[in-house]
Amino acid sequence: MNGSAPLVRLQQVCKRYGDQVALVDVDLDIFNGEFVTILGPSGCGKTTLLRLVAGFEPVSSGRIQLNGRDVAGLPPEKREVNTVFQSYALFPHMTVFDNVAFGLRMRGQAPEEIQRRVGDALSLVQLTGFEARRPHQLSGGQQQRVAVARAIVNRPLVLLLDEPLSALDYRLRKQMQLDLKHLQRRLGITFILVTHDQEEAFSMSDRVVVLNAGRIEQAGPPNEVYEQPRNLYVARFVGEINLLDGLVDRVEGERVVLRIDHLNVRVKSNRTFAPSDRVHVLLRPEDLRVETLKDLADNPALKNSFADGGYFLGTVQETIYKGATYDVAVLLDNGRPIMATEFFNAEDATVYFRPGDRVAVSWIEGWEVLLPHEG
């Protein structure tokens, strides 16, 4: 896939509204058939990015290429790109059929062709039989599907989706995430989706682009973004994170020996560090291991398997029940709060820890991420 030319290429794209900067030096290549998600908080410029590609607004500087062609000055109606709007933007005075047929009619397709393709598109989104309805007679989920059908019926090179699921309730959103993903696989159309929901981004896309304040922080496959965040911002945005501060003691090949409080910890990192660099150690709650001091004392085998590199001591503050898992909030003796996720035991479905328990905290070696200290 990476050998071919990109379908969408953004080079040094900037967008300013007066003094306000929406996008800064965005470079991004999107390849044919990819499902790319632009992930970021509201106001980070992700919708602006879509609007630039769709042609609703001009870039302030930089270039956008579609299928190898520079699209500067090309109005939206001349771009082989279609958009699914957050508000759906269905035409209220037209039936479902006319809504979906609009793009084909604008391109002067023959009536039989329109009939056939609208029928196909509606059956793809499971709305066969709804042709004569008006948008206001449909539920939110159905309106959303009409919006998708209206866009894909034109067989665009790229489909742009601007937070298309944000107005739906949780269950429907989950279902539509799957449906959209299957639709994309089936049609082979390149999708660029914008969302602020990291779960949505991870579950649907081939590649996630994390945007912050108009800049791309990281772009890569979901697991890479989650497991190897490039900086603290990305790490925090894509999930819960625990932070420990350390100092590089010495470097032993691929391994780095850190000094964190009283402990010497040996960790792996693909970054290069020099002795006495300050670092952050990032740990996901599910990577942490927590045992009570009492259990460790009672069970030497457990203690041996627990952590040979040592552990931190702390006190359980509270436990938060999550259904399949529960979170344990621990205040370490060094004053740092830590959140660990625990699974229920097969034989014991009760929350094991109690507030006030003295515990030892360690982690599964090799699952930590090391980042240079950020001011």
Binding site: F56, P76, E77, S87, F91, P92, H93, M106, R107
Partner: protein
């Protein structure tokens, strides 16, 4: 208890508003020529009415002026609304504010100022001056009604149409115009009623060559109340009521 109080209150309000009209309509069927006494039911006054050539002439003038001025005002008002909605140009806010000022201005001020203008331009008072006056009266109502509807639209609808391949013309033709049409028609009926009911502006801006119904009624009343006038007013109420109901229906549709 409180329910019957509410009903009583509502009844009083409606009586206050509509009793005079009801009395007038009832007396339009009264067989008595001079007194206010009930002398039996008759359609005689309606009969005299339709055989009074000069009165019919005035009524036709009124309807013509109302229809033409409503149509012209609709055109100007709709274009104005579309312009202030679609484009951000210098003076846009001023136009928007001026529309409200014009809507709120007392009729007598509009009437006299137009009279001064027409006299300065030495235009003979008649059909054309009255038409211009009524168009001026109606444009703000149309513009504000249509603008209100445009404001209610999802702004992305136009973008969606562009995105699907519609050029500027197709967007107007297939999206903006059909979506604003109910408001435009409502504006037309509103204008029609305004023009039909206007006495004050017409008083200043039309001449003896072109007499309209409200002015005619006004001069008739100066010579005393006649049952024909009751009948005439009853007929006008009917036309107005139809126009108002139609306007409401159009504005409510597809909200």
């Amino acid at each position: 208890m409180s329910r019957s109080l509410k009903i009583a209150y509502a009844t009083l309000v409606y009586l206050f508003l509509y009793l005079p009209l009801v009395v007038m309509v009832v007396y339009s069927f009264n067989a008595s020529r001079f007194s206010m006494q009930w002398k039996g039911f008759t359609l005689h006054w309606y009969d005299t009415l339709i055989h009074d050539a000069s009165l019919i002439q005035a009524a036709l003038h009124s309807l013509a002026i109302a229809a033409v001025s409503a149509t012209v005002a609709c055109f100007i008002g709709t274009v104005t609304a579309l312009a202030i909605h679609r484009w951000r140009f210098v003076g846009r806010k001023v136009i928007h504010a001026v529309l409200f000022v014009m809507m709120m201005s007392p009729d007598i001020v509009i009437g006299i100022s137009l009279l001064v203008l027409f006299m300065t331009l030495s235009l003979p008072l008649g059909f054309w001056t009255l038409l211009m006056a009524h168009v001026t009266l109606c444009v703000p109502f149309v513009a504000i009604t249509v603008h209100g509807r445009l404001q209610g639209f999802d702004p992305h609808v136009v973008e969606a149409a562009r995105d699907l391949g519609a050029g500027e013309y197709e967007v107007w033709r297939h999206i903006v115009l059909p979506m604003t049409m109910p408001a435009v028609l409502a504006g037309w009926f509103m204008s029609f009623t305004l023009s039909l009911d206007d006495v004050i502006i017409a008083f200043f801006t039309t001449g003896p060559t072109f007499e309209v119904l409200p002015l005619r009624i006004y001069s008739m009343v100066r010579l005393g109340l006649k049952p024909e006038i009751n009948a005439l007013c009853a007929a006008m109420i009917l036309i107005t009521a139809v126009a108002v109901v139609t306007t409401q229906g159009l504005l409510k549709e597809r909200k």
